[in-house]
Amino acid sequence: MTMRDLYLLVPLAPLAASVIVGLFGPKLGRSLSHWLCILGVAISFAASIAIVRDVHAGHLFNGDVYTWLASGSLRLAVGFLIDPLTATMLIIVTFVSLMVHIYTVGYMADDPGYTRFFSYISLFTFSMLMLVMSNNFMQLFFGWEAVGLVSYLLIGFWYERPTATYANLKAFLANRVGDFGFVLGIGLVLAYFGTLDYAPVFAKAGSMAGTTIAPWAGGAWSLMTAICICLFVGAMGKSAQVPLHVWLPDSMEGPTPISALIHAATMVTAGIFMVARMSPLFEWSETALSFVTVIGATTALFMAFLGIVQNDIKRVVAYSTLSQLGYMTVALGVSAYSAAIFHLMTHAFFKALLFLGAGSVIIAVHHEQDLRHMGGLRRYMPITYVTAVIGSLALAGIPPFAGFYSKDAIIEAVGLSHVGGHRYAYFAVMAGVFVTAFYSFRMLFLAFHGEERFHPHAAQQGAADPQGKHAQGEHAHDASSAAGAEPDAHVHDAGPPRESPWVVTVPLILLAIPSVFAGWAYVQPMLFGDWFGNSIFVREPHAVLGELKGEWQGPLAFALHSLATAPFWLAIAGIATAVYLYLVNPAMPARIAARFAAITTLLDNKYYFDRFNDWFFAGGARWLGNFASTYGDRTIIDGWVVNGSAKLVGIASRAFRRIQSGYVYHYAFMMILGVFGLLYWWGVR
C-alpha cells in the first residue's frame, strides 16, 4: 500500500461505513452497524497516525485524486495536501470522532434512530476529513458545506421537536450567511490568481500584496484585505464568531455526542483551521488581521459572560466553546497561528471531555439538563466527576493541564502583538480567564457538589415522563422537550443516579489523558519547534511566537513562571469566587442577580441578538417577500399589466362591437364618411 492509498483510505473508510449503514442500517441491525462505523473511524485513526509519522519524516504530498471539472484554463480537482497542519488535524478529528463513536453506543442505546445516527456521524467524519485534507479552495468549500449539512441533520436529529428543527434551520442559515462571504472570497481568489489550488495561490500572494481593487469608481481596497475578510466571514459562520454565533447555543438541541464532536471539538474549529491554512494570505493584510483580532476578542469575553447565567448544563459548555473559539480567533489575529491550532487541539480534548461528561450526567439524572436540578453527583458517579474536574481545570487554564499551555501562549502572544486592536484583545483575553474559571467551576459545583436537588424532581419527572411510553415505541418527543430534557429513549426508573456504563466512561478516561498531558508534551514542538514546518507562514513583523521563543526554557519553567503572572491568579480568583458563591454561600448568587437586574436581563436575553435577528432578518425577509408577492407580482404585474391588458382588449372590443351593429344604414353612413374623407385627402394633396 502506497502512502497515496493510505491518504485515500482516511476519508473513504468512514464514508463507506456511513453509506452502508445509511442505506442498510435497519437490515444490518444495531450492533453490526455500530461496529462497522467504529471500524471505519478506527481505520482512519490508525492511518492518520501513520501519516503524521510519515509527515514528520519529511514526506509531504500535494496531488489530485480526480478532476472534478475543467472549464477554459480553469481546472477544479479533488485532491489532497498532506502537510504537518493537515496531519495534526487528522489526528484530532479521527481521535475525537473515534471516542464519540464508542460513547454513542452507550448514549444512544435505546434511540429508535440508532443506525441513522451512526451513519450521520461517520458521514460527518468523512466530510471533515475532506475539508482538512483539501489542496484547493473548491474542495475546501465542499467539505465546508458538507459538515454544515451533517450538522443540520444532526441538530434536527429528533425531528419531532419543534425546537430542534428551528435550531437546525437557524444553524444552516447562519452558516449560509458565512458561506456567502466565503464564496465571494473564493471568487476573488479565482479572479485575481486564476486558480483555486492552494500552492500557486500562496506562492503568488506576496507579489499580489500591493494590488488594489476598485469596489466603486475611484475607490481602492487592498485585494488581500478584501479576500481575507470575505474568507473570514465564512469562518465567522462556521466557527461561530459574533455576530454569526447565534446558532451554536441552539445547536445543543442535538444529541450530546454530536455536541461534543461537531459543535465543540471539530466542525466549529474548521474556521480556525481555514484561517491558519490561509496564513500566507492573511499575513499580507494588517486590516484583516486586526478585524480578526477584534471579532475574536469580542467573542472570547462577551460569550464567556453568557456562560455565567446559563442553567442548562449543555448551554454552559456551549457558551464556553464560543468563548474558547474566540481565544483561537484572537490567536489567529495576532499571527500566532500555531498557538491557535495548539489551543484547537487541547480544546478538542478537554471540551469533548466536558461535553461527554455532561452527557454522562444527563443520563444519570434521567435526561435532566437543568443544573438547578442536579447537585451532589460526585458520590454517585466518581469517574465522571474526576474527569469533569480534569476538564474544568484544563478549561480554566490551571497549570500543568493542557488548556493552560495553549491559553497562556495565546495571552502572551497577544501581549507582544502590535496588530490593530491588540490592547482591547489583551484586556478581553485576560478578563476572559477570570470569567472562564468562574463559570467552569460554577457548573462543576452545581452539578457535582452541594445538596442533592434531583430526587424530588426526578421522581416527579419519572412519573409524568413521556419517555417510558417512548420506549414502547411511541413518539412523544415534543412533550419532553417542553420540560427541557433530552428525549432519547432510555428506559429508566426514577432510582438514584448511577455511574454510566463502560462505553461511556472509557472515552471519558481516554479523553482525560490528553487533557492532562497534551499541553505539557506538545507545547515545545508545536509552538517553538518545527512541528508545522512550512505549512504556516508568518511574516517577520508579526512573529510574536518567535519573540516568545527567546524566553522559552521548557514546559516546567513555563508553568512555574506562570505562577507569578496575572492570568494564573485571575483563574484562581475565578475558581475562588465560584467556591464562595456556590459552596460557601449559595444564597448569594440570587441576591447578586437581583441587585444587578439590568445586567442579568441583558445576559439572560443574550444581548438581544436572537430577538433582533428574528425581528429584523427573519421578519424583514418575510415582510419583503409578502410585499413583493402581493404588490409586485399580484397587483402590478398580474393585476395591471397582464390582466389589465386583457381588460383593455375587452374594453376595446366592446367599443368596436358597437360599430358592427348589423344595420345597413350604419355601414352606408360610414362608407359615405369614408368616401368624403378620401376625396378630401386627395383634394388637399
Binding site: L69, S71, G72, W144, E145, V183, L184, G187, A628
Partner: protein, 490 residues
C-alpha cells in the same frame, strides 16, 4: 449513418400517435405500455448522440439536411453541437420518467395524456436540434399545443385561466420572433440559422431584432417581469406537466439565447447586456424573497425555478467560458432538481390532494424514505456542494465575481435565500410531530415512486460529484460561441 436526431424527434411522436389510436380508457393498460415503450425507445435512440459525440469540434454533428419548402429555401435541417446535445438527452430521459410517473395516477383519458407528453417530447427535441429558422419556429410553436392541453384538460380547478395565460403569454412573446425570422431571411436570402451568424447587421437592425427574440425567449425562461404565467401554470398543471414544464420547456427559452440572440445580434447583446444582467439579478433576489412567503408548495418551487433560471441568463451575459458553461450546467441541473421537486410534491399530492404547506407537518414520521429523498433534492435546490445544484451556481458566481465583485455579491445572495425558502418549506412539511390525521394515514413511497426518485437522485449526485463528463461536451462549442459573439457585425 443512422439519423439519430430524426429518430429522437419522430420516434416519440409516432409512439404518441400510436397511443392516441388506442383511444378509450378501457384499454388504458395497453396505452400505458405503448407509451412507456415509445418513451424508452425515444431515450435509447438519443444515447448514441452522447456516445458518438465528438468533443473536439464545434461544428454541428449528426447533421441531416433535406429540402422542405424549396420555394423559400426552407429545409429540414437538424444537427447538434455541444450546447444542444445534452438537452435532447435530458428531454428524452424526462419523457420516460413522466410517462412512468403518470402510470397509476392518471386514470382518465390515459391515452391522450400519454400521447400529449410523447408528442411534446418529440417536438422539443426538434426545437433543440433545428438548424433552420422556420423549422425551429414550427417546433417552437407546436409544442405549446400539447402543453396547453395538458394543463387545460388534466389540470387543477383553475386550469382554464392558467392554460390560457400560459398560451397567450408565450404566443404573444413569440409572434415578433416570426417577424424577426422573416427579416433575417430578407437580408440573408436564407433560413439557415448558421448563415445568420455571419450576416452583417447594422445596429439599427440589431436592436429591433434583439428585442423581438428577447421577448420570445424571456417569456419562456421566464425572466422577471414576464414570469407570472409560470406559477399559475405550475399550480394548475398535473405533476407530469409541471415536471416537463420546469425541466425542459424553460430550457428552451434559455437555449434561444445562445442559439439566436448572442450569435445573431452580438453587438446589440453586448450593448444591452447590463439590462439582461439587471433583470437576471432581480430574478435571483426579488423572486427569492417572493418564494420565501409562498404557502403553496408548487408555487414555491415555481418561484424557485424562476430564481434559478436567473442564474442561467446571468451566466450567458457575462461573456466568459466559465459563465456560459456554468449557465448550461445550471440548466441541466435545474432539469433534474426541479423535476425531482415537482415529483416529490406530486407524491404527496397524490395522497393528500393538497399542495398547501399548512396542511402538512411531520411527514417524515409516516414517510421516512420519501423524506430522505426529498432532503436530498431540497439540498440540491439550495445548491449544496456534491449535488448538481452546486455546479452551475458556483461557476456562475465565480464568473460574476470575476466580471464585477458586486454582481457576484448580488448573485451569491441566493446561497442564503435558496436555503431559506427551500429548507423552511421542508421543515414545515416534513419535520415536526404528525400534524393531523391525514398525515398519520400516509403510506411511504411504493416501488414505482422509489425507482423514479432513485433515477433522479443518481443524476443529481452523479452530476454533483463528477460534472466533468457533461461539461467537457460543451467546451469547444462554448468557446466557438464566445468567439462568434466577440466578432462585431457592424
Amino acid at each position: 449513418m443512422t439519423p439519430y436526431l430524426s429518430l429522437s424527434i419522430w420516434v416519440p411522436i409516432a409512439a404518441g400517435l400510436a397511443v392516441l389510436g388506442v383511444g378509450r380508457d378501457r384499454d388504458a393498460a395497453f396505452a400505458r405500455w405503448i407509451a412507456l415503450t415509445g418513451a424508452v425507445a425515444g431515450f435509447l435512440v438519443t444515447i448514441p448522440l452522447y456516445a458518438h459525440f465528438d468533443t473536439a469540434t464545434s461544428a454541428m454533428q449528426f447533421v441531416e439536411y433535406a429540402s422542405w419548402i424549396p420555394r423559400f429555401g426552407i429545409h429540414y435541417h437538424v444537427g447538434v453541437d455541444g450546447i444542444s446535445v445534452l438537452f435532447i438527452l435530458l428531454n428524452s430521459l424526462m419523457t420516460v420518467l413522466v410517462v412512468w410517473a403518470g402510470w397509476e395516477v392518471i386514470t382518465t383519458r390515459v391515452a391522450q395524456y400519454m400521447a400529449a407528453f410523447l408528442i411534446m417530447s418529440g417536438l422539443m427535441n426538434g426545437v433543440f436540434c433545428a438548424l433552420d429558422g422556420i423549422l425551429f419556429y414550427v417546433f417552437f410553436e407546436a409544442m405549446l399545443i400539447p402543453m396547453y392541453l395538458i394543463i387545460g384538460v388534466w389540470g387543477g380547478p383553475n386550469r382554464v385561466y392558467a392554460a390560457m395565460k400560459f398560451f397567450l403569454y408565450t404566443l404573444l412573446g413569440s409572434l415578433l420572433m416570426l417577424v424577426a425570422l422573416i427579416y433575417l431571411y430578407s437580408v440573408s436570402e436564407s433560413f439557415e440559422i448558421l448563415e445568420w451568424y455571419k450576416v452583417p447587421l447594422e445596429m439599427g437592425a440589431q436592436i429591433p431584432l434583439w428585442i423581438a427574440f428577447f421577448l420570445a425567449f424571456a417569456v419562456k425562461v421566464p425572466m422577471w417581469p414576464v414570469h407570472t404565467w409560470l406559477p399559475d401554470a405550475h399550480v394548475e398543471a398535473p405533476t407530469g406537466g409541471s415536471v416537463v414544464l420546469a425541466a425542459i420547456t424553460l430550457k428552451i427559452g434559455a437555449y434561444g439565447f445562445v442559439r439566436f440572440i448572442l450569435p445573431i445580434v452580438p453587438d446589440a447583446s453586448r450593448y444591452l447586456s447590463g439590462f439582461v444582467i439587471t433583470l437576471s439579478l432581480i430574478a435571483v433576489v426579488y423572486i427569492g424573497f417572493v418564494a420565501l412567503v409562498q404557502t403553496d408548495m408548487k408555487k414555491l418551487i415555481a418561484y424557485s425555478s424562476i430564481s434559478h433560471m436567473g442564474f442561467v441568463t446571468l451566466g450567458f451575459f457575462l461573456y466568459s467560458q466559465l459563465g456560459v458553461e456554468g449557465a448550461l450546467a445550471q440548466m441541466l441541473s435545474h432539469g433534474f432538481v426541479s423535476a425531482a421537486m415537482f415529483l416529490c410534491v406530486g407524491v404527496m399530492y397524490d395522497r393528500m390532494h393538497s399542495r398547501q404547506i399548512a396542511d402538512y407537518g411531520g411527514v417524515v414520521n409516516t414517510m421516512p424514505k420519501f423524506a430522505a429523498f426529498m432532503m436530498l433534492f431540497a439540498m440540491a435546490n439550495a445548491g449544496l456542494p456534491g449535488t448538481s445544484g452546486f455546479v452551475g451556481e458556483f461557476l456562475v458566481i465565480l464568473a460574476a465575481v470575476k466580471a464585477d465583485f458586486w454582481l457576484g455579491f448580488a448573485a451569491a445572495v441566493t446561497l442564503i435565500l435558496g436555503a431559506a425558502y427551500t429548507l423552511w418549506m421542508y421543515k414545515r412539511v416534513i419535520f415536526g410531530p404528525v400534524a393531523n390525521a391525514n398525515v398519520a394515514k400516509l403510506t411511504d413511497i411504493g416501488r414505482r415512486e422509489f425507482w423514479l426518485l432513485t433515477v433522479l437522485a443518481v443524476a443529481v449526485l452523479g452530476m454533483g460529484l463528477w460534472p466533468k463528463p457533461l461539461i467537457d461536451v460543451m467546451h469547444v462549442s462554448v468557446a466557438n460561441l464566445l468567439q462568434t459573439v466577440a466578432r462585431s457585425k457592424l
